[in-house]
């Protein structure tokens, strides 16, 4: 009745020796003891394990866990023309860091960024794998811009470059594309800029379903405009962004939603029955059948064992929604 998905990243190591293979491999790579190809093999083993955990957890639409991403910004930006990667900067309010992209010329797509990663993941997953890209507005907002000196032209060029990547992903077979724009929770006034970017990406997505996801906060003030953006579904953080809940209840949505109801930033375990009850409260306001349940953001802020637990909570809640409806 309602399907389940995740948002993007997933813990790449756990607390057992076996689950720390990638940490050891990176340390050995840094010392020059193994090659880049061997490190790639170690990453792909973890991708397989992460896909297994999501499949076992009963998740309907999965991701590769972004296992090879250094962070949400530099992994995409480093493959674009005119970008260099700089030192560490704080990533929102998460107490984690990203390497800051520095823009020193006109942005352009140069080579495939995510296509091989997506192909590998889909080949190793029973469930459909969603391709997740950091959105042009968020990339533009978190980068150090030494060229454009204005957010809009930078965001537009980034959107064109990401559009090219999306078209490559779709040609490779991706049927689900997600664009993450967490910056909208901090700068809702930039929504028109996000829309311009999404229009450009939409033009390249073919038959794939396009989702816009916002997290790390609420978007109640722009909710009505948000659900009119040129995408097929809207993902919402309803934990840190709990204030968006009343906007959904008030306005409803014709467009399918991804309801980020399970807290991806706290180890506390939700009761699936309570999650289901909340979802059922929206039964008459949204199309539950076309919608998804998800964590509030990527699961990487949790220890691996707790991330697995959150997957189980999600699918248990979805089953309860199905039984009740």
């Amino acid at each position: 009745m309602v399907r389940t998905t995740v948002v993007g990243n997933y813990p790449r190591i756990g607390d057992t020796f076996d689950e720390q293979s990638l940490r050891r491999a990176i340390a050995r790579f840094d010392k020059g003891e193994i090659s880049a190809a061997e490190l790639g093999d170690a990453e792909r083993e973890v991708v397989k394990a992460v896909l297994r955990e999501q499949n076992d957890g009963g998740i309907n639409l999965v991701t590769d866990g972004q296992i090879s991403w250094y962070d949400s910004q530099s992994h995409i930006a480093r493959r674009l023309a005119s970008v260099e990667i700089n030192g560490l900067a704080r990533y929102f309010d998460t107490n984690t860091y990203y390497r800051q992209p520095v823009v020193h010329g006109a942005i352009a797509w140069k080579e495939p960024i995510l296509v091989d990663e997506w192909k590998f993941a889909q080949a190793n997953s029973k469930a459909a794998v969603k391709a997740v890209l950091t959105g042009p507005l968020t990339l533009a907002s978190l980068a150090l811009d030494k060229h454009y000196r204005k957010k809009k032209p930078l965001a537009v060029d980034l959107a064109n470059a990401l559009g090219e990547e999306v078209s490559g992903l779709v040609r490779a077979g991706a049927a689900h594309i997600q664009i993450d724009e967490p910056i909208l929770t901090r700068h809702p006034e930039d929504l028109p800029l996000a829309v311009e970017g999404l229009e450009r990406i939409r033009a390249r997505k073919g038959a794939a379903a396009l989702t816009l996801f916002t997290y790390f906060g609420e978007v109640s003030k722009i909710f009505e405009e948000l659900i009119e953006t040129p995408v097929d579904a809207i993902g919402l953080d309803l934990v840190q962004g709990a204030a968006t809940w009343s906007a959904i209840a008030k306005h409803g949505s014709e467009k399918p939603l991804v309801l980020g109801l399970v807290d991806a930033r706290n180890t506390k375990k939700e009761d699936p029955a309570e999650v289901a009850k909340k979802v059922l409260g929206l039964k008459d306001r949204i199309n539950l059948k076309a919608s998804f349940l998800s964590p509030s953001n990527g699961l990487e802020f949790l220890p691996r064992e707790r991330a697995r637990e959150k997957l189980r909570i999600l699918s248990a809640a979805a089953r309860k929604v199905g039984v009740a409806a």
Partner: protein, 323 residues
Amino acid sequence: MTGLLTTSVGSFPKPEYLQRARTKASKGELSEEGLRALEEKATAEWIHFQEEIGIDIPVDGEQYRGDMATYFAENIDGTEISGLVRSYGNRYYKKPIIVDELRRKGPISVDWFKFAQARTKRPVKGMITGPYTMMDWSFDEFYGSREEACLAFAKLLHEEALSLEAAGAKIVQVDEPALSTRFDELPLLVKAVGTVTKGLRAKTILHTCYGSYDEIFEFFNKLPVDQLDLEMSNSGLDLLDRFKREPLKKEIAFGVVDVHSHVVEPESLIRERIEKALTIFEPEKLYIDPDCGLKTRSVEEAQAKLRNMVAAARAVREAHRLT
């Protein structure tokens, strides 16, 4: 007139023998007492080093801490320690989990303060991981409210501050690296830090770092401490102009060396930075220190940076005839 006293933010790198010992201890191959003896050895060495180069206000160097939040949490009732989560790159850490009402088991850092203070006549800083940072860096399975969790930490950290003072600490520093995490919570931070420092006779300091100071600037004068300890060199000294327009009504500890860079700043560069700071702040209210804890540098890099810092401060003092 005196001025430009030198100090440190808190952490120093652990010597290799201590790093190896910590790995062993985590595998159960070294006893708690065995590890403690090496932590004491390293602490004594750092105190000796600070005396030798002439740092005015030493720190214990935090040789006994892994992470600043988990170290405190391990000594507080009502907490557990989580599995590993990633900070960035290949760096992982464990976070506190609040599972019950928070209570201080007993003194947390007081023994280490005493150990360090017994080895020097100079005033050693007492060091507290601040209540807002403790809350922000913990998972909360108990309070369900950031404010409640933060104020619960504040209450027990106030007891810790009183114990430090009773043990002889003339200076108590509250570390709040998470200060600029959420601007809308700055009033909560002010309230919580105020709870910790309330009624203390010791001089109080608040350290923060990695901030976008722009949006928190107006809160600087509201922070309930006597001194602010700020990262200045890594923020390109941009803040100075703002301080010119909106004067700080407190003492300032002014970070003059970048703790994230392997490059050891030459004395001449540090002197320039101190001279710039002197155009804004009175020398007796201006303290000189690194941007943040030096623990991510090598022992050699950290010592070289501190040596140049002390030499630069001394040279500027002489040039301005400060004793």
